[in-house]
Structure formats: structure tokens, C-alpha cells
């Protein structure tokens, strides 16, 4: 049952993406001052947004665990965090490639970039914390608490850095604000977002199952060692 659900979601996501690729390269014209490379936005942005959705979904599952003490929720929370982290890395990489081509540099201390980096670091800490705790109950609880702190923090980070950097704006922003896209050009972004959400969900389901099995094995081992 769940097997087929996963496959279904993944398949759907795949087909949407393929269709998008077609429209992107066949229908959508090059952007005037960036040329072909601008198409990277069709992945860059959806990945970014999808990652945010994932991080916050993870937090809510964490809260859910704290309330319900149901380890399934912890598994889901962890899976969300991981998948989102993967997505975020893609955003990062696509972004950096894009930056290398458009700005000629890999990285600029632009507000959005910086805050995104912070966001990634917060979750890097989240994973390290999970790995550092052996007792599954403790792990679930602490990582839930951490994700709550992290998500609240991300909001503040986003705002504060926005203000901080704009005190002395870099060359970056001018390019960014050229983002008033023609609707035809913008549509694929949302389609890709949809595709990524589907894909993400299926990945989460897979990871969740792995997490459950891991916990099961862990408990069996403890039991075996008890005798």
C-alpha cells in the first residue's frame, strides 16, 4: 500500500518535472540580460521554497512528538529535516553556480545568501545532535526542542540580516530586483515547486520507514544483549 503510494508520488513528480523541462527549454525564451543560464531559477527557487516548507513541517512534527510521544512523528520530523537539507543544498549549489556566472564570484555576503547559510548551519547542528544521542527517547525530545528554537530563529535571522546588510548594499541586489518576470516565464517555477513537494513527500515516506526500522533494530539489540 504505502509502497505504491511512494511510487505513485515519485512517478507523478518525475513526469511533472520532465514536462517542465520541456516547456522551459522549448517554450520559454532566453532572458534578455542573462541569457540561457537564467533558467536555473526554475530549480533554484522552487528548491529553496520547498526546503523552507520542509523545515517548518519538520518542526510541527517535532511539536507533535512532544505532545503525543509517538515515535513515528519523530521519524517524520527527522526525515523532513534531512530531505529539506538536501533540497537546501541544491539551492545553495545552483545558486553558487548561478552566482559564478552572473556575478563572477561564488559567494556574496548578500542578506538572503547569508541567512540561508545560517539556516543550513542550524540544521547541520540538528543532525549532529541527533547522532550524538544514543537513547532514542532523549534524541527525539531534544531534536524536537532544537527544531523549535531553530525555526523561530530562522525568522529572526532572515529579518535581521536583511536589515543589517542593506545598511551597505552590495552589487548583488540590483540583479535580484530584476525579478519582475513575465507570467509565461514564471509559471514553470510553480510547477516545479509542485513537483518538488511531491518528490519530497515520497522521499520523506521512504526515510521515515528507514528510521522506524532503525529504532526497531536498536530495541531488538538491547533486548538481545539483555539476555
Amino acid at each position: 500500500m504505502r509502497q505504491s503510494l511512494i511510487l505513485g508520488l515519485a512517478g507523478l513528480a518525475g513526469s511533472v518535472i520532465i514536462w517542465n523541462l520541456y516547456t522551459m527549454f522549448m517554450n520559454v525564451p532566453d532572458e534578455m540580460n542573462q541569457g540561457a543560464i537564467f533558467r536555473i531559477i526554475y530549480f533554484h527557487v522552487p528548491f529553496a521554497i520547498a526546503s523552507f516548507i520542509g523545515f517548518f513541517a519538520g518542526m510541527f512534527c517535532g511539536i507533535g512528538f512532544l505532545v503525543k510521544k509517538n515515535f513515528r512523528l519523530d521519524s517524520i520530523a527527522a526525515s523532513f529535516a534531512e530531505v529539506s537539507f538536501a533540497f537546501a543544498s541544491v539551492t545553495m549549489i545552483t545558486g553558487m553556480i548561478w552566482g559564478r556566472i552572473i556575478w563572477g564570484i561564488w559567494w556574496a555576503w548578500d542578506p538572503r545568501l547569508t541567512s540561508y547559510l545560517v539556516c543550513l548551519l542550524l540544521y547541520a547542528g540538528y543532525f549532529m545532535l541527533r547522532r550524538a544521542i544514543d537513547d532514542p527517547t532523549q534524541r527525539a525530545k531534544l531534536s524536537a526542542v532544537l527544531s523549535i528554537f531553530a525555526c523561530l530563529d530562522i525568522v529572526l535571522v532572515w529579518k535581521s540580516i536583511e536589515w543589517f546588510r542593506t545598511q551597505h548594499p552590495g552589487p548583488v541586489l540590483s540583479i535580484r530586483n530584476g525579478g519582475g518576470m513575465a507570467p509565461g516565464m514564471e509559471a514553470p517555477i510553480y510547477w516545479n515547486l509542485l513537483a518538488l513537494v511531491l518528490l519530497g513527500t515520497s522521499l520523506v515516506l521512504i526515510r521515515m520507514r528507514q528510521e522506524d526500522t532503525k529504532r526497531e533494530i536498536d530495541s531488538l539489540r538491547r533486548y538481545a544483549h539483555g539476555m
Binding site: G125, L129, L146, F149, S160, F164
Partner: protein
């Protein structure tokens, strides 16, 4: 939750205990003071203190020093309870998790302020920055910023107390968290040092306060979950 009076009383008892044993073996305070002095020294080699624009970055360096020195204090905060399972003894007493947390916060707050009081003059010497006109504001910023470090740091000190890699995890988890507070503190301090008008920088002040309030409340709400397994 014990009644209000009881709450404060317990908090003070715990803070008093920590401060006493800390001030007896000046362990942590020595460590973090000497640490921050050394950091200032190193910075002064990294960044030519003679340069004009030093005032621009002075605030940044200062707060980095505070942030790093605080790690030492925060690490010990709950670690101190580990030696003889003292944490269990505290938790099994009528003291609430929240009371323990705020007791620790208070201690750390005081200790951090001590560290800062020592390192600020040193800083002034190295970088010949002198007490600016807007020093009352500066003090306000110091208090708010330090509380930000304390509130979050103490909470995470509690979270990581039972980990194998305590002294490792704490900085990694805490520093990214602190960034908004640090940014705000840095900007405000710069403003004061440069003697600029506060003007639209009020927003940073607000941010700092919001940060303090949010995370204090959050810690208050979650600390019991963290401490009681």
C-alpha cells in the same frame, strides 16, 4: 509551579550556590577572562588596531570575544552538576526545572558581565577606543545582548549536559542561534562608538528585546521537557 515568592527564592538559592562555588575556585571566570584577553590580543595582530576604520569593526570584534568567552562559562554551567549526579539531586528536590534554569541563567549572566567588565577596558587599551558619550545606551545594549547569550546558552547547556561531546556540541548549536542578537548588539555598539544618532537604529533595539523575550519564554516553556527524561 511553587507560588511566586517561592519561585524567586528557589532561583536565588540555586544561583547563590553556583556563584559561591564558582567564586571559590575561580576556575571558569579565570579561564574566560584570560581567554577573552588573549582573543583581543590575537585580533589586534589580525586587524591592525592603528588603522582608521578600526572603530567600524571594533564593536564586531568585541561581541565576538564575548560570544566565544561565554562558551566557557556556559559549558560549565550544567556540567558542574554532573560530577556526583548533583543534577538528579536538584531535580528530585522540590525545585522546578524552570527554577533551576533561571538560577543557572542568573549565575551565567553575572559571570558573563564580570568577564565583559574586565575585557572592555582591555579592549579600550589595545584599540585605544575611549568611553563614548552614549555610554548609558552602551550599558543597556550590553545587558540586553548578554542576556540573549545567557538565555539561549543556558538552555543549550542543559540540552547538551548528558552528551559525550558536550563541549563540542554547545558552540555549534548556540552560535548560529545567537546571530540575530549578535548582529543587533554589534550594530548598536557601533552606532554608540561612532557617536551616530540612534535614529532608525531603534529597530535593532527592538529586535534585541524581542529576541530576549521570545527565547526566554521558549526556554521557560521547554526546559522541563529537556531536563526531566
Amino acid at each position: 509551579m511553587a507560588n511566586r515568592a517561592g519561585f524567586i527564592h528557589q532561583v536565588l538559592t540555586i544561583a547563590g550556590k553556583d556563584l559561591r562555588s564558582e567564586l571559590r575556585t575561580k576556575e571558569t571566570i579565570n579561564a574566560s577572562v584570560s581567554f577573552s584577553v588573549v582573543m583581543l590580543l590575537l585580533f589586534s595582530f589580525a586587524v591592525d588596531p592603528g588603522a582608521e576604520e578600526v572603530l567600524q569593526i571594533a564593536a564586531g570584534l568585541l561581541w565576538l570575544v564575548f560570544a566565544f568567552a561565554s562558551a566557557l562559562v556556559l559549558n560549565r554551567s550544567f556540567a558542574r552538576e554532573l560530577s556526583n549526579d548533583c543534577l538528579d539531586a536538584l531535580l528530585s528536590s522540590p525545585a522546578e526545572s524552570a527554577e533551576i534554569y533561571f538560577g543557572k541563567c542568573l549565575t551565567n549572566f553575572v559571570l558573563l558581565l564580570m568577564v565583559e567588565l574586565v575585557s572592555i577596558p582591555v579592549f579600550g587599551l589595545f584599540y585605544n577606543v575611549f568611553l563614548p558619550a552614549g555610554w548609558p545606551l552602551l550599558i543597556a545594549v550590553l545587558l540586553l545582548g548578554t542576556w540573549a547569550l545567557t538565555a539561549i546558552g543556558t538552555m543549550f547547556s542543559a540540552m547538551t549536559v548528558n552528551l559525550r561531546l558536550r563541549e563540542l556540541m554547545l558552540p555549534i548549536l548556540v552560535y548560529p542561534m545567537m546571530i540575530p542578537a549578535l548582529i543587533a548588539a554589534i550594530r548598536l555598539t557601533t552606532v554608540v562608538l561612532l557617536g551616530e544618532p540612534l535614529g532608525e537604529n531603534w529597530i535593532w533595539f527592538k529586535l534585541l528585546i524581542v529576541f530576549d523575550v521570545i527565547f526566554t519564554l521558549l526556554a521557560f516553556a521547554l526546559v522541563d521537557v529537556v531536563l526531566v527524561g
